[in-house]
């Protein structure tokens, strides 16, 4: 199979994983989603999406910082047309490989390469060294052979080097799966010291009950993600507007809300400015001045919000400095941004023939 064919065949198995700390990749294997431990960021829950899975929250039921593996429970019964299989064949130098993932958030990117070295020792673990271009965001994605079998999990790259990628080999994945499934329990953490699997509910004060060391993953899972300051206030505002904050959160400082036909992006910048933007449509090709007149006259009526143009797109925006944000005013403003964006995009497209935005629905 060529790369294109492999991607098309297995694309439904490829998962995008999002946490407040970043995004990564994963893939379906049986009833689990396999990814890297560093992708789930020590959280008990992450947001996942795939070709056939809308953004949804899924529990991380196994976290293994030693192998850098994590398993996410696939609660809804998704059956990809063609399921991925873990390889059991020996990987050799020069074998063709295909890495699939979401590097830098670019969905479903497949890159082809070869095995540069089948077994490269890093600390006390073996890794498959590949020359396929993998980037941040590829982490947790599958490394496939030419038959489309999973030979590894793309795990790390050497920073500032060209095409030096490393994948955790299939046999470690199989070993972890076997151990985990044998327990028939959820919420399992592998202790990085004694390598035993420990049950989260039995852990006290984050200490491994087998060897007595503090387990960082246990601490992180217990602590969870708790926004503070203006970020918390923003999330409180969104919650008060019935927005599912966990699903809308793109990072610790950005949120995306789809409301009717409108999409609103809220970003909190380091300089303290909070910008809620809705890119409504592109400017039309005819009677453009009429649109400008309409936008400028509507600006006279609006409070909190404003129309502007950037790179030929029409925006409705709300801008505020974090120190001025309050629950009441913020709620009014963001509610208006959601409602008015949903209204104005229709008016601009239907009445002024503005151009509808192309949008990646899986994004």
């Amino acid at each position: 199979m060529n790369t294109q064919h492999i991607l098309e065949t297995y694309i439904e198995n490829i998962i995008q994983i999002m946490t407040p700390y970043g995004t990564g990749s994963g893939f379906i294997l049986g009833n689990l989603i396999i990814t890297n431990s560093h992708v789930v960021g020590g959280l008990q829950e992450v947001v996942i999406s795939a070709k056939k899975i809308k953004r949804t929250i899924a529990p991380v039921i196994y976290d293994d910082p030693y192998f850098d593996l994590a398993f996410i429970e696939l609660e809804s019964l998704i059956h990809p047309k063609t399921i991925l299989q873990l390889s059991s064949n020996i990987v050799s130098d020069g074998d063709t490989t295909i890495a699939i993932g979401h590097p830098y958030g670019l969905n479903y990117t497949a890159t082809e390469g070869i095995v540069s070295r089948a077994s490269r020792l890093q600390d006390d673990l073996e890794y498959i060294q590949i020359d396929a271009a993998i980037n941040p965001g590829n982490s947790g994605g599958p490394l496939l052979n030419a038959k489309g079998e999973v030979i590894g999990v793309n795990t790390f790259i050497i920073q500032n080097a060209n095409n030096l990628g490393f994948a955790l080999p299939y046999f470690y994945v199989q070993e972890a799966l076997d151990e985990f499934l044998a327990l028939k329990k959820k919420n399992i953490i592998k202790c990085t010291s004694c390598k035993n699997l420990v049950e989260e509910e039995k852990i006290k004060n984050d200490y491994c009950y087998e060897c007595g060391v503090k387990i960082e993953t246990a601490r992180l899972r217990r602590k969870g993600y708790k926004p503070t300051g203006p970020t918390k206030l923003l999330e409180d505002i969104l919650s008060s507007l019935d927005v599912d904050v966990d699903l809308s959160r793109r990072s610790q400082s950005s949120w995306r809300i789809d409301h009717g036909s409108a999409r609103i992006d809220i970003n909190y910048y380091e300089n303290g400015i909070i910008i809620g933007d809705s890119k409504l449509c592109g400017i039309p090709s005819k009677n453009i001045e009429e649109v400008y007149d309409y936008l400028l006259k509507e600006n006279a009526k609006l409070s909190y919000l404003q129309f502007s143009i950037n790179e030929n797109s029409i925006y409705l925006s709300y801008l505020i400095v974090d120190s001025s944000l309050t629950l009441i005013e913020g709620k009014t403003a963001i509610n208006r941004l959601m409602e008015y964006s949903n209204k104005y995009d229709d008016i601009l497209i239907e009445k002024y023939y503005a151009i509808k935005q192309k949008r990646d629905e899986e994004d």
Binding site: I273, I288, E289, Y292, D293, L295, L296, K297, N299, A300, L302, S303, Y304, Q306, F307, S308, I309, N310, Y315, S317, L319, V321, S323, S324, L325, T326, I328, E329
Partner: protein, 438 residues
Amino acid sequence: MNWFNFFDNTTTTLHHPFGRGINAKLSEDEEELFDKSYEAFENKDILNAYEYFFKSLENFTDEESNENTRTNLIEDKLEFEIFQGCARITGYVTQEHLYAEAIMTKSSSANVSLKRHILDRNYQFTYAYYFMDEEYIKLKLYHDNITMNPQKIFFPLREIALNADFDKEYIRNEFAGIHLEDIEHLEKVDENELQIKYEFMQETIKELDAKIDTLPSNDNAGMQAFFLLNTLYMLDYLLVAKYSIYQKSSKKIQDYFTEENTTMEARNNELRIYINELKAMDFKEFSSNFYNAKYTFNPTDKTLKEDIDNFISESLLKIRWYKNNRYKQIIPIIYKYISFYILYNYGVNPVIKELLHTLVEIQNPSFFTSLGYVELYNEEDESFSKKTIITRVDKIIEPHQAQYKLLETFGEELNFSSLNEFSNSFYLQIQNLNFEEI
């Protein structure tokens, strides 16, 4: 030594604008007014809080208010005006919110390009935005007072004022035939002053052409750049032209430093073409680029003293290189360039600003004497008005010594043996100034 100037320590009361910032002084009570505003905001005494705040923005010339901000309390509403060059910001404050606007031009006169321009500008602003009513295109600002304090309202008002001023100038320059509205507050510049400025510009460009001709025929791009940029910075600082001269000069200087894909020779050529345009400008056209106005906000953000010191050090190193390589003709130009560059690009504190202005006055005596200022340096016999200069330097520094305990006057430390030596010692002394608050 010029003995005629030995006892001359007079100061003039002439007031001409110089450079792009505010020339006037803030109120001596500025900090106290700001604190009172803060306190009143804390106590939810909103209208008084704003009144103190607007008072803290007021600036003065010879102890007299320039009335660059005005307020008028009418029952439960505080009306205000803020002047910033071309722009007049009017608005009101209630217990709940602040509204401010600047009238730009008539809606009926706006063309499609202007409308697009202001919609594009809306995307760049943080607090203010353009709208259109039946009569005018306006820039407006709305802010609630729930969490308000003087720091928080400073930046929104600064944004609307600076941008209304900038955009009005831009509109007049860019969109021919579109008339600016609400500019009755602008004052004409005295005809005699304009004549002096015009002649100075012509003379400066003539001298520039002659000086460039003296440069070695090859490998002189660096020196040409100093000559050309210094001319533009100097004209900008001394003439304080507005409208198209301001806009084009800003653009030419910006392009010079940002167009990385063109050679220095090509960039020099662009500057020379523009300077020749200025040379070809007749007096009538030249005069249409000037007005006097009140200003409230400085356009540049404060620069760290360290950055200024570094720039001086780097420039003095360049001078040393040219000196070692015997390119003496460029040295006085770089000494001038340092002051003009800092005054153009950096938000400097009032002490350094006044000191650099004094140096500019010494380095460019003909322009200042033609405006009626006391001569600080005689170009013919190369003598300084030493006593006046020392007194001036001390008078600039002394009022700030209570605040900055380590700040020392340096008039007596200056080297009066030649203009180059003087400039060199002046910059070194500026580097020595200590603004640490202890």
